[in-house]
């Protein structure tokens, strides 16, 4: 037994601020002080406090320290851990409600944690801690008390919509694969997160990997699959390691393998690493990549639930979708339906990024407004600057301006303004930025990430960059704006996959609301043409 626990948030954000070396130094200092038997250092996922340096929490006191440096450790040890006196200069009191690790109630202010209920609370490397939070209970219940068709029906009844961005009904997708007759079927967890501004999947994988595995097991049971793959982006080193470890633990505990709990159901999971390609987030491109090929999208139909990985029926679900499934099975479809709005049940994880005081990961019931997210949860825009626009759903997402601040977020409302929830990234842009330069940044991204398979996307994204560069370098004309619009609408109609079809969305959105900025650049006095134009 340990007298005290020091929890250290170990997520990529804190690691980027030096958490790894702080943890190592802390463990070493405790050893030197002879306290290793009394005080245990535990890594956890994100605590929901971002941009405040390395974060430690001392339990049972529940004291948060932020901005901790190696030089502060000896004081924390000698003062707090030995004498019980809080080191006030590092003490952080402005704890966002949602990250109070000792709270058990699920509702924290405007946030409601379903998918993230364990993230930052349990040790993600311990299957025991997950099990202690009702982990694998839904799986056990499904295997012993429910038929696959019952599991499928529960997910269908919940009305859950897939959280990868398309919001396709999860139960319906599963139903397609369940109806297929095949010896082998596959469940793929799409963890190829690469949409700019999005890091929800990473923090779910790293904060609560077993929830994702349990969701995959349930999907596998419902549709009769034999094997699952978690396709994780190659750059996500920590997610890959955590999920691999979780799989091993699940195997050791008999949760994966042959004839699980004597139920006759056999299912195993393997990690597949990406190798750096944004397009592999598209489900058929992802399947091509698992098959060891170039990640270029396939023709649809046939859709993966009929013909997927190695030609077999395959379900591809997003991390957030899968991590929600165990909760639906445990608490029931009616419970899930009671969250969110009628058109879009459930909660949604958003990543709040850009020009915002309190960036990070939040989970809220749908129906919340932009104003609540930016000003209540995000603490507003830094340096007293004004709000210019927000982009919702990643770089292909629609544009929202101050006139949309009070629009409740759900699919119906957002569709009415040509936007969607997408990946849940919410990029806030302040009024110091020129919108044409921002749009040029979007266009450069698509040009870089276009896989090159179809002409419309490959050439179109490049041409958009050229036209925008003409404008931002002072060489453009109003006819260029018209050309951008024509090209954009042609791409939306004729590109092969979602990337090329969606690339023009934010460009047209910005044109709709900020046309004057485009025109101003087009009308400005011609400057000398730069050499690289």
């Amino acid at each position: 037994m340990h007298r005290m626990h020091v929890i250290i948030a170990m997520d990529p954000h804190t690691i980027a601020q030096g958490a790894r070396s702080i943890k190592d130094a802390l463990v070493k200092n405790l050893e030197l002080a002879g306290l290793s038997n009394e005080i245990k250092v535990v890594e956890t996922g994100s605590l929901g406090i971002y941009n405040k340096g390395v974060v430690l929490v001392v339990f049972p006191d529940g004291i948060y320290y932020t901005g901790v440096k190696i030089a502060d450790l000896s004081e924390i040890i000698s003062e707090h851990l030995v004498k019980g006196r809080v080191v006030e200069r590092l003490h952080y009191r402005d704890i966002p409600e949602e990250s109070r690790a000792e709270e058990k109630a699920p509702r924290f202010g405007k946030q409601l944690r379903v998918v993230l209920k364990n993230a930052g609370i349990i040790d993600p490397e311990s299957i025991e801690e997950y099990i202690a939070q009702d982990g694998y209970e839904a799986y056990g219940k499904a295997l012993t008390e429910m038929k696959p068709a019952d599991v499928l029906q529960t997910v269908k009844d919940s009305g859950m919509l897939g959280r990868g961005g398309a919001f396709f009904p999860t139960g319906v997708k599963w139903g397609f694969a369940a109806a297929e007759k095949a010896k082998e079927k596959y469940i793929i967890c799409n963890a190829d997160e690469g949409e700019p501004g999005t890091f929800k999947d990473r923090l779910i994988l790293e904060g609560d990997p077993h929830a994702v595995l349990e969701g995959m097991c349930l999907a596998g049971y419902a549709v009769g699959a034999t094997m699952g793959y978690v396709y994780i982006r190659g750059e996500y080193y920590m997610s890959i390691a955590r999920v691999r470890r979780a799989i091993e633990q699940a195997r050791k505990n008999g949760l994966l393998g042959k004839n699980i709990f004597g139920s006759g159901f056999s299912f195993d999971i393997e990690v597949r690493e990406g190798a750096g390609a944004y397009i592999c987030g598209e489900e058929t491109a992802l399947i091509e990549s698992i098959e060891g090929k170039r990640g270029e999208p396939r023709d649809k139909p046939p859709f993966p639930p009929s013909v997927g990985l190695w030609g077999k029926p395959t379900i591809v679900n997003n991390v957030e979708t899968l991590a929600t499934v165990p909760q639906i099975l445990l608490k029931g479809a009616a419970w899930y339906k009671s969250l969110g709005t009628e058109s879009t049940p459930g909660t949604k994880v958003f990543t709040l990024v850009g020009n915002i005081n309190n960036p990070g990961l939040i989970e809220v019931p749908l129906g919340i407004t932009l104003r609540e997210i930016i000003y209540d949860i995000g603490h507003g825009i830094p340096n007293g600057r004004g709000f210019k626009l927000a982009q919702l759903g990643g770089t292909t997402g629609g544009i929202l301006t101050s006139e949309h601040l009070d629009l409740p977020f759900d699919l119906v409302n957002l569709r009415s303004i040509d936007a969607g929830l997408g990946s849940g990234a919410l990029l806030v842009v302040d009024d110091t930025h020129n919108v044409v330069e921002l749009v040029q940044n979007f266009a450069e991204f698509f040009n870089h990430e276009s896989c090159g398979k179809c002409t419309m996307c490959r050439e179109g994204t490049g041409r958009l960059v050229e036209l925008l560069h003409k404008l931002t370098s002072g060489c453009g004309a109003e006819s260029d704006i018209a050309l951008i619009e024509r090209l954009a609408s042609a791409m939306m109609k004729s590109a092969f996959c979602g990337l090329g079809q969606a690339a023009p969305v934010p460009i047209l959105g910005c044109l709709r609301y900020f046309r004057d900025e485009f025109t101003a650049l087009a009308q400005q006095k011609r400057q000398q043409i730069p050499a690289n134009a």
């Binding site: 990529p12 954000h13 690691i15 980027a16 601020q17 971002y50 941009n51 997160e193 690469g194 949409e195 700019p196 501004g197 999005t198 890091f199 990473r202 190659g234 750059e235 996500y236 080193y237 690493e273 990406g274 190798a275 750096g276 390609a277 944004y278 990549s289 698992i290 098959e291 060891g292 090929k293 170039r294 990640g295 270029e296 190695w310 990543t351 709040l352 990024v353 850009g354 020009n355 960036p359 990070g360 990961l361 982009q391 770089t395 990234a425 990029l427 842009v429 302040d430 930025h433 921002l438 940044n441 979007f442 450069e444 991204f445 870089h448 990430e449 896989c451």
Partner: protein
């Protein structure tokens, strides 16, 4: 001439993995530093996958390289969330300090500078990654200090 027999061992180690080409190329690149023509030809021979297919894969993914790279790979993010927080200035300063453009390697072979797509570290934007280490909340000065640190460490090890 590199010892190509390691390729046989790497391929053999994935015997029980279905469609392992991407894993094989990752390991081979780790072994040889980059995916040269002779290396890829040998992979094709051992795996019996056409060289054209293998070349297609090796040039598709950004984590693979068919050219030699520097000792450290610096990947800068310039996607919108980093961009609105000043990544352009950071990147400019890094280019000035290293005296190279993105996609190039420094004359002494210490650094290769690349773009990366969003690393999902937007709460501490702007960010860069050096090898598998991530650095956040960058300013032009901070980025240069980190690179200087790598440079001195690199020469101390040599």
């Amino acid at each position: 001439m590199p010892d190509l027999s390691r390729i046989d061992e790497i391929v053999a180690s994935y015997q029980s993995t279905k469609s392992p080409l991407i894993y094989i190329l990752k390991d081979v690149q780790k072994e040889f530093g980059f995916l040269s023509e002779s290396v890829l030809t040998q992979v094709a021979r051992v795996t019996r996958i056409p060289l054209s297919d293998i070349y297609g894969v090796a040039t598709f993914y950004s984590l693979f390289t068919t050219k030699p790279k520097g000792q450290h790979i610096v990947r800068c993010c310039n996607n919108a969330p980093c961009w609105v927080n000043g990544s352009e200035e950071v990147l400019q300063k890094i280019k000035e300090y290293l005296e190279i453009e993105t996609g190039e390697t420094t004359g002494d072979g210490t650094f290769t500078l690349e773009f990366t797509s969003c690393l999902g570290l937007c709460a501490v934007a702007p960010v860069m990654m050096i090898d598998d280490q991530v650095f956040g909340n960058l300013t032009p000065e901070k980025a240069v200090a980190i690179l200087r640190d790598y440079k001195t460490k690199g020469s101390a090890n040599a």
